[in-house]
């Protein structure tokens, strides 16, 4: 299988899986979600921010 296609499929599966887990967490009343989720998202978003700034300086060195 084309590598690009397999990455796309992994992304789509990840999105669907995330939706299922989050819906299950809300419907099932998993309280832990309220503590873990914001921290996880904050870590991911901070990483993206740092990489974005790094790319800008690399491009405009």
């Amino acid at each position: 299988m084309d590598q690009s296609l397999s990455t796309d499929i992994k992304f789509v599966v990840a999105i669907i899986l995330e939706a299922v887990v989050l819906v299950w967490g809300l419907v099932g009343g998993v309280s832990l979600l309220g503590y873990i989720l914001p921290v996880l998202v904050a870590i991911v978003c901070t990483t993206i921010t740092v990489l974005g700034i790094r790319d800008f300086f690399r491009q405009h060195r």
Partner: protein, 472 residues
């Protein structure tokens, strides 16, 4: 009714001042790297994966998305996420997989330019006028004024004018480069500070156990007891982004088709998690302040959970949500006026420098008119917002049809579908939304139905024809 009580201190003002100053400084610093109009309008088509993720995520999330999700959760419970957010995000997967790479592959910088090449100039002009209305972000200006007034007590229009002034200032400096790099920082602020509010709120309401005791049982039903027609409306409304000019601008500015696609897929992952947090905050607000109205309860809960300075920083995160959207759309509106209306109509041979100057001038005009309309001429406000909504109903089919329709394809097809979408929206609105259906839900099918016979009329378009350079 209990109102928002805020202990707004000098430290909070300091946080706001620092945030606004940093945004202007970043905009100015980035502008030093801009060399020509392609840098200014399309960031040199060099945006990397993390940059596209940050700017797309920050731009799409405006005041409506943040306060709207929390407010829906406040009123309808977890259905806000299950029936509003999940279908909308899943429905956008095709946009990432097929539309984003296709848009990156075309030469045109804007949607009207694309419409102009695919169909004819009048279609492009019509699209351009509607995009300018859509880009005025009047609701964001109104929201920022109300939020500022609620928190600081200053008049709405002063807060609105200051924020619009700062947005124009940093966006004008370096165009899309400035907008993207301020978006990157605003993305960090909006996600970290807004999300880190949840653990504190969650422990004070006692998690889901506490919420179940405090809220009606219907708040934990996946569909919230909403009728199927309402669920369908929610699903279809999520498709608005398929004609969003700011998303198209970012797809076009990505450094490759693969970057555009992967970045948008990543945004879907982030948005879904962010929406879950907003839903939980909405539930928390309902448990803590059931007597207040949704957005006000959300704001009160956040402000009361924070000490001085952090309250100011949290307000900065909400400003980041709104300002990142405003800056992107002001630039889209100004670019559309310059490149899709003034340039083809009056100055086909405009130089790079003239294009940049004119875009800056139009950004100031859009911001100034936006403030006037939002706070002084409220009678016109609804009309401009309505015209903006008209854009989505009329451009959706011609734009996607132009990109993907593989069979016979004519100017009449584009014209008819655009006019059909627009006309149906106007008539439906005039009739007072029969059957409780939103105009867009009727306009989109009509627009598509007219697109089909329209493509049987007239001479077929040669898609591979090179655009005419009028300067030669």
């Amino acid at each position: 009714m209990q109102d928002v009580v805020v202990n707004w201190t000098g430290l909070d003002w300091l946080a706001i001042f620092m945030y606004l100053s940093i945004m202007i400084l970043v905009g100015w610093y980035v502008s030093r790297k801009v060399r020509n109009s392609e840098d200014y309008l399309m960031a040199g088509r060099a945006l990397s994966y993390p940059m596209v993720v940050a700017t797309v995520a920050a731009t799409w999330y405006g005041s409506g998305a943040v306060f709207g999700t929390a407010e829906l959760a406040f009123n309808a419970g977890i259905a806000a996420f299950v029936v509003w957010c999940v279908p909308a995000h899943l429905g956008r997967i095709p946009l990432a997989l097929w539309v984003a790479p296709r848009v990156r592959g075309v030469k045109e910088n804007t949607i009207p330019a694309l419409l102009g090449r695919l169909y004819a100039r009048p279609v492009a002009f019509l699209g351009a006028v509607l995009i300018v209305c859509y880009s005025s972000r009047l609701m964001d200006i109104v929201s920022v004024g109300i939020m500022g007034n609620t928190v600081t007590g200053l008049p709405n229009w002063i807060i609105g004018a200051v924020i619009v002034g700062v947005v124009i200032c940093y966006s004008m400096f370096g165009g899309l480069w400035s907008v993207v790099m301020t978006d990157v920082l605003q993305f960090f602020l909006m996600t970290s500070l807004t999300l880190l509010l949840l653990p504190g709120v969650w422990s004070s309401v006692g998690g889901f156990e506490g919420l179940r005791a405090a809220l009606p049982a219907g708040h934990f039903s996946p569909t919230g007891g909403l009728p199927v027609s309402q669920l369908l409306v929610f699903f279809l409304l999520g498709f608005q982004v398929y004609a969003d000019p700011a998303a198209y601008q970012r797809f076009g500015a990505s450094n490759s088709a693969k970057t555009a696609k992967r970045a948008y897929l990543t945004c879907l992952l982030i948005w879904m998690a962010f929406d879950t947090v907003m839903t939980m905050l909405g539930l928390g607000a309902r448990a803590l302040y059931p007597e207040l109205q949704g957005s006000k309860a959300f704001l009160t809960m956040a402000i009361n959970a924070m000490p001085p300075f952090l309250t100011g920083l949290w307000i900065c995160s909400i400003l980041a949500v709104i300002m990142s959207t405003m800056s992107s759309f002001f630039l889209v509106g100004a670019t559309t006026l310059t490149c899709d209306l003034i340039k083809p109509l009056f100055r086909p041979c405009m130089t790079d420098r003239e294009q940049i100057r004119l875009t800056r001038f139009f950004m100031v005009c859009i911001g100034f008119c936006g403030c006037l309309l939002a706070f002084q001429f409220s009678a016109v406000l609804d009309a401009v917002i309505f015209l903006g909504g008209l854009y989505l109903a009329s451009a959706f089919v011609p734009v996607l049809g132009g990109l993907f329709w593989r069979w016979r394809f004519t100017v009449a097809g584009g014209f008819l579908s655009m006019l059909g979408g627009m006309g149906t929206t106007l008539v439906w609105q005039f009739l007072g939304n029969p059957f409780g259906l939103k105009p867009m839900l009727v306009a989109l099918p009509v627009s598509f139905i007219l697109f089909l016979p329209g493509n049987m009329i007239g001479k077929p378009i040669d898609r591979n024809a090179e655009p005419v350079n009028e300067c030669e």
